[in-house]
């Protein structure tokens, strides 16, 4: 995994006190002067229970979160799965030779064999190759739809929650209207008129119907956060609106958005499969787990492998993203440390 933090200078003071020692150290009087503090850090640092060296820069929320994440096995596991998925999406030919579109009806529904570890599907296509190539569309749709929904929804909801008033009322009524649109029916109506063969109409549709959910959550958590005394304190200091929003409200309101967005990521991947199954999502020759699952479902008794491998890949992807979201949420909440 890449290491984004610059090398930590070893010989510097302003020490970071190991977290485990924090409570005990609180008992020591406050009279220690800076010079001794610097010297002490040097002696104490190697004995730190977590083995990390001292750093002289003030620690920020995000650097602390990163430090936490690196030690979290759930994050490492899900991160590795996601990195692998991203790698496969970018360069599928590295681990799968041949084209996912090259099918041989003579081999239809055949089981595992040399060159096709997952066997062949109903059309005689190589399931292994198609599963590998299908990662790209699922990951692209899931990640881009989530990013779009999260950005659009949290900006709109956050601003409505912060400024309140007329815009808040108008926006809340608009989200109500969007909530009233049934997803599948809306997809059938809107996507059936689209002839494009790319993933963009599907992503656009998901952002269109998905943003109200995040917008509501962002609005609610911004309203909760802005009533806190520390936001009032910042206002009393003369802080600008943008400082209050970015420094005080957003970091304290972002966790619910992250959690909901990662859970939604799985549902977007599943929704892509649903829409593809109904014939309005992605269309062949695009390779997608959703298309493969729907294509394999009639042969489930004769060739279950054609259904199980893409389904398994889908489930693993969704699980990895949800675990990642969970680990990120834990790391972003200092109270859980």
């Amino acid at each position: 995994m890449p290491e984004p933090m610059p090398p930590e200078p070893l010989l510097s003071g302003g020490g970071r006190v190991p977290e485990d020692g924090a409570i005990a150290a609180t008992g020591m009087g406050g009279a220690m002067d800076l010079a001794t503090a610097e010297g002490e850090t040097l002696e104490r640092a190697p004995a730190g229970p977590d083995g990390t060296g001292p750093t002289d820069r003030p620690r920020s929320l995000w650097s602390d979160a990163w430090r936490d994440l690196r030690r979290n096995p759930v994050f490492i596991l899900s991160g590795l799965v996601i990195l692998f998925l991203v790698f496969v999406s970018l360069w599928p030919s590295v681990i799968a030779s041949g084209s996912p579109l090259k099918c041989d009806l003579a081999k239809a529904q055949e089981g595992s064999q040399q060159g096709a570890p997952f066997g062949y599907d109903g059309q005689g296509c190589n399931v292994y190759t198609r599963t590998v190539y299908g990662a790209r569309t699922s990951v692209t749709v899931g990640v881009l739809a989530t990013l779009g929904v999260a950005l659009f929804g949290s900006v709109l909801g956050g601003l409505a929650g912060f400024f309140g008033g007329v815009w808040d009322s108008v926006l809340s009524r608009i989200t109500d209207i969007f909530f009233a649109i049934p997803v599948v029916l809306g997809g059938l109506v809107l996507l059936s008129v689209v002839t494009s063969n790319t993933v963009w109409p599907v992503i656009g549709f998901m952002v269109l119907l998905g943003w109200p959910q995040i917008s509501r959550i962002a609005r609610g958590s911004v309203i909760t956060a802005k009533q806190n005394d520390y936001v009032q304190a910042a206002r009393a200091l003369g802080a600008s609106n943008s400082r209050m929003l970015l420094r005080h409200i957003a970091p304290n309101a972002v966790a619910p958005v992250i959690v909901v967005a990662t859970i939604a990521l799985g549902t977007y991947i599943a929704l892509e499969a649903t829409l593809s199954y109904l014939g309005v999502g992605l269309k062949p020759p695009t390779v997608s787990w959703g298309i493969d699952i729907s294509a394999a479902s009639p042969y489930i008794r004769n060739a279950p492998h054609a259904l199980l491998w893409p389904s398994g890949a889908l489930a693993l992807t969704v699980l990895a993203f949800i675990m990642l979201g969970d680990a990120v949420r834990d790391a972003l909440d200092p109270k859980l440390r």
Binding site: G14, T26, G30, L34, R235, A236, L237
Partner: protein, 367 residues
């Protein structure tokens, strides 16, 4: 610059110039009905005509029960709420009309310490970021390279280890958190600190530490305090002058000894009679004044004297005539400690708290 009839209470005893002058401060929150077509159906009169003066280096205590408008006054002083009417003059300049750059300059000089140290510190910022934030908002106060050192100095000043700069608020106890809040208030070297019940969320043992810290800082940095509390003994411990608020107005104001030992307003007397007395013998002999009924709703304030609905002295005159906050006529010529501002038509002295000396001693050793 107009001056009103209800001007300073203790002109002779405070030679310093007034740093903060509040006249006719009013805050009404409109009550509206309807969603689309808002119609005002009334107003919550949270603060309804408050006057006081704060001199340099002085502590003005404001006491009163919950909901009497103390905190609203505090918020208006630091410009978190805009007053409906009235003036807040800082060194002669009306700050209620300021905005932009001029407002920021005034805000530097009037800072606030909040009631609840658990909610007034951003849980996602380190102590260094919290105390250093004033410098980021007002970069002219400290050059960038200096800030870390300044923050560590501030931690030292409020009695915290400067090494704690990288910790998060949740790693501290309530008293330590309040010290962090005080350090943030001090960062810009303000002249006035408005403390809104700064110790009522703390343990009694820690309250004394924080109060004494505030008293020490006052002499070190030549601060003026507006100290808001509902704990009468704490207000007495730290205040030079005290104002008693009831239902959005100050009903009695004077030097601490005048208010505590020679209260002339019946509400102050009732309030003081409820203070716990540590000495069992003295407790036997004191008279408790139990008020009947509840505080009237601030949406529907009684005519005349607003305390008359609960006052045992109330007569017809009280319903007709609003008593002015001034030295009552019967004490005007007698002088002495009873001659201080009291908004009552039938003001009379009544000692409800045992004499000063043993109480003061007790408070100090307890601290």
């Amino acid at each position: 610059m107009a001056s009103t009839s209800a001007a300073p209470a203790a002109p002779a005893t405070s030679p310093a110039e007034p740093i903060l002058e509040v006249t006719g401060l009013v805050k009404h929150y409109p009550l509206t009905r309807g969603v689309l077509f808002r119609k005002q159906v009334g107003a919550v009169k949270a603060v309804d005509g408050v006057d006081f003066v704060l001199h340099r280096g002085e502590t003005l205590g404001i006491v009163g029960e919950s909901g009497c408008g103390k905190s609203t006054v505090a918020k208006m002083l630091v410009n978190l709420e805009k007053p409906t009417a009235g003036r807040i003059r800082y060194k002669g300049e009306d700050v209620t009309k300021l905005s932009g750059r001029a407002l920021r300059a005034v805000r530097r000089n009037i800072q606030m310490v909040f009631q609840d140290p658990y909610t007034s510190l951003n849980p996602r910022m380190t102590v260094g970021d919290i105390i250093g934030e004033p410098y980021e908002i007002h970069p002219e106060v400290a050059p960038k390279g200096d800030r870390r050192k300044k923050v560590q100095d501030l931690l030292d000043v409020v009695g915290l280890n400067p090494e704690y700069i990288n910790r998060y608020p949740h790693q501290f106890s309530g008293g330590q958190r309040q010290r962090i809040g005080i350090a943030r208030g001090l960062a810009l070297r303000p002249e006035v600190i408005v403390a809104d019940e700064p110790v009522s969320a703390l343990d009694v043992s820690v309250q004394a530490q924080v109060i004494n810290l505030m008293a020490n800082l006052q002499s070190e940095f030549d601060l003026s305090y507006i100290f808001i509390a509902h704990d009468l003994s704490i207000v007495r411990h730290i205040s030079d002058r005290v104002g008693v608020m009831y239902l959005g107005r100050i009903v009695e104001t004077g030097r601490d000894a005048e208010i505590y030992e020679h209260p002339t307003h019946p509400y102050t007397q009732a309030l003081l009679s409820a203070v716990p007395v540590p000495d069992p013998e003295a407790r036997e002999h004191r008279e408790r004044i139990i008020l009947s009924g509840d505080v009237p709703s601030p949406t529907n304030i009684p005519s005349g004297c607003r305390f008359r609905t609960r006052c045992w002295k109330a007569q017809e005159r009280c319903a007709l005539e609003v008593p002015a906050l001034a030295v009552p006529a019967e004490f005007r010529h007698t002088g002495g400690p009873a001659a201080h501002d009291s908004a009552c038509h039938f003001a009379e002295e009544k000692q409800v708290v045992p004499p000063e000396e043993p109480r003061e001693d007790h408070g100090d050793t307890g601290a």
